[in-house]
């Protein structure tokens, strides 16, 4: 446990070094936010029908999405994949701590540090200039914060799964490339999930990916009652536990058939 916390702490410190990158990233994300806001504005003025979300809610949803973008963007952990490729993964396996939890700590750090560095300034800018609404109520804000905590844990679990898929080099390469694009769409960041067709809503609600963006954002906007919110949070944590168990099993399987290359 303490080893994992130390890893978490160290990685967050390393990642907080990249401040210029964060500033450039914020500017880029705000630019793309503008493009998306203008696109949705055009869609809303083109259609007189009533939609599950108002135009103002969608704008807030978009800016929250840009602010917390890094929680839904997945790549593989470059250092771990390099270890797997070069064979130095062996050293990791010899450490006197569970390699699974060490790697999970790395993934959590990789989500917290850059997301916090980019999210806080963007939310402030959003409130001040960009038309981001304030949370619907104090309860909404509280639920939003709870859901974000789960979102970080969930995002880290998903990213660890993508990295672990590399233990099966060939099929893993396909999964770790295509998977993130699919998760991106299903998290609600491309199109807010309530705007998807009615008949696929049950599928979206059952999948874990709405826990990344859609659940926290709808809680923020007050689009869920607190009973719905509690259920959504329970589901979010259920998925976190489930995915972590899957990850442990995949790692155990991977280690059993691991052939270390190099000498």
């Amino acid at each position: 446990m303490s080893a994992c916390l130390a890893m978490l702490d160290a990685r967050i410190r390393v990642l907080l070094q990249y401040r210029t990158v964060a500033v450039a990233g914020i500017a880029t994300q705000i630019f793309f936010g503008f493009v998306r806001v203008m696109t949705f504005t055009a869609f809303y003025r083109s259609s007189a029908a009533a939609h599950p979300m108002t135009h103002e809610q969608v704008i807030s949803y978009i800016w929250l999405g840009q602010a917390f973008l890094l929680l839904a963007m997945f790549g593989v952990d470059n250092e771990i994949s390099e270890m797997i490729r070069s064979g130095t993964v062996v050293y990791e396996l010899t450490r006197p701590a569970s390699v699974f939890w060490l790697w999970y700590s790395r993934c959590v750090a990789a989500r917290i540090a850059p997301a916090a560095m980019r999210a806080i300034p963007q939310v402030l800018l959003g409130w001040a200039f960009l038309g981001l609404q304030f949370p619907a109520s104090v309860l909404a804000l509280l639920m939003f914060c709870l859901a974000l905590t789960g979102s970080v844990a969930l995002a880290a679990a998903i990213s660890l799964l993508f990295t672990l898929s590399l233990l099966r080099t060939i099929s893993g390469e396909g999964i770790s490339r295509m998977g993130p694009a699919l998760v991106f769409l299903l998290s609600g960041i491309v199109v807010p999930l309530p705007l998807f067709p009615q008949r696929i809503q049950p599928i979206l609600n059952a999948l874990p990916f709405r826990g990344l963006m859609d659940v926290p954002f709808r809680l923020y906007l007050g689009q869920m009652t607190w009973q719905e919110g509690v259920l959504a949070l329970a589901q979010q944590w259920g998925w976190i536990v489930g995915l972590l168990l899957l990850g442990r099993w995949l790692l155990a399987l991977g280690v059993r058939r691991l052939v270390v290359q190099g000498g």
Binding site: G25, F32, V35, T39, I170, L185, V191
Partner: protein, 266 residues
């Protein structure tokens, strides 16, 4: 002529090195195809919900999407060599290019041909073919000619942007994420008719980074729609040449960058 054969020789080396990992190459190309398809799925969901955008249907927007994505795929395949300029400069390897009896832009360009971009190209082509089919447009020779002109012009425009991105490294040493606003931003913005955006934004992508000239204007001629901005047919036919001009201008800027290059190596 000799330059061309040298270029082909460079490309042959790049292709052969990519083919060393054949299965990996196939998987990555397929993945690229699927990723772009998922992106289009998002667009389809929006049209399912809203029906149209400022009077444009999904099929019409599909033409805009297909044209700009094909152009971008070509540029990514051919000119992504400029992407690694930061690395070339940091390691001091750029010095080696200066010693060889060929232009630096040529050598950076020739060092890589990213074959996996076939994935995006194929996906964009499918969308374009579907769009033409759905709109019932006939494949007349003038339509095909303008389409090719616009795509090649677009490939030049995006290549020019990659050259500028590489040139920037002479000053910044690092590649900057913010440049993505021009490249990916241009592709993203050009997927829709630019009139849906606010005027200031439209002006940036018409005059500064002339995405409109290889997409918005020619697409009107291809669709046979009257431009609400009032461009004439002549403008719509001539505008793709702005892409070539942009590339030429970018190469000029490149030369300025090379002149102020100071080596970081030892």
């Amino acid at each position: 002529m000799e330059t061309l054969s040298l270029y082909l020789c460079y490309l042959g080396i790049s292709v052969r090195s990519q083919m060393q990992y054949r299965v990996s190459f196939v998987i990555r190309t397929l993945a690229h195809f699927v990723i772009c398809g998922i992106e289009f799925l998002g667009l389809a969901v929006l049209f399912q919900r809203f029906g149209q955008i400022d009077g444009w249907s999904l099929a019409e927007v599909g033409l805009f999407y297909g044209m700009i994505s094909m152009a971008f795929a070509i540029a990514e395949a051919v000119a992504r060599g400029f992407d690694i300029m930061g690395r070339l400069i940091r390691s001091g390897d750029f010095d080696r290019l200066l010693l060889r009896p060929r232009g630096t832009a040529f050598q950076v360009l020739a060092q890589e041909l990213q074959l996996l971009r076939v994935g995006r190209f194929a996906q964009a082509l499918l969308v374009l073919l579907w769009s033409v089919q759905a709109l019932g447009l006939a494949w007349t020779s003038s339509r095909i000619a303008l389409l090719l002109l616009a795509i090649v012009g677009g490939a030049c425009l995006f290549s020019g942007l990659f050259v500028l991105q590489g040139t920037l490294c002479f000053w910044t040493i690092e590649s900057l994420e913010i440049v993505n606003c021009a490249t990916y931003g241009g592709v993203g913005a050009g997927q829709f008719p630019l009139t849906i955006y606010r005027p200031w934004f439209r002006h940036i992508f018409t005059f500064l980074i002339p995405v409109a000239t290889i997409n918005y204007f020619p697409a009107h001629a291809i669709l046979g729609r009257v431009d609400s901005l009032g461009s004439t047919l002549l403008v719509q036919w001539l505008s793709p040449f702005a892409g070539f001009v942009f590339l030429m201008a970018s190469l000029r800027v490149w030369r300025i960058g090379v002149r102020r290059y100071t080596s970081t190596g030892n």
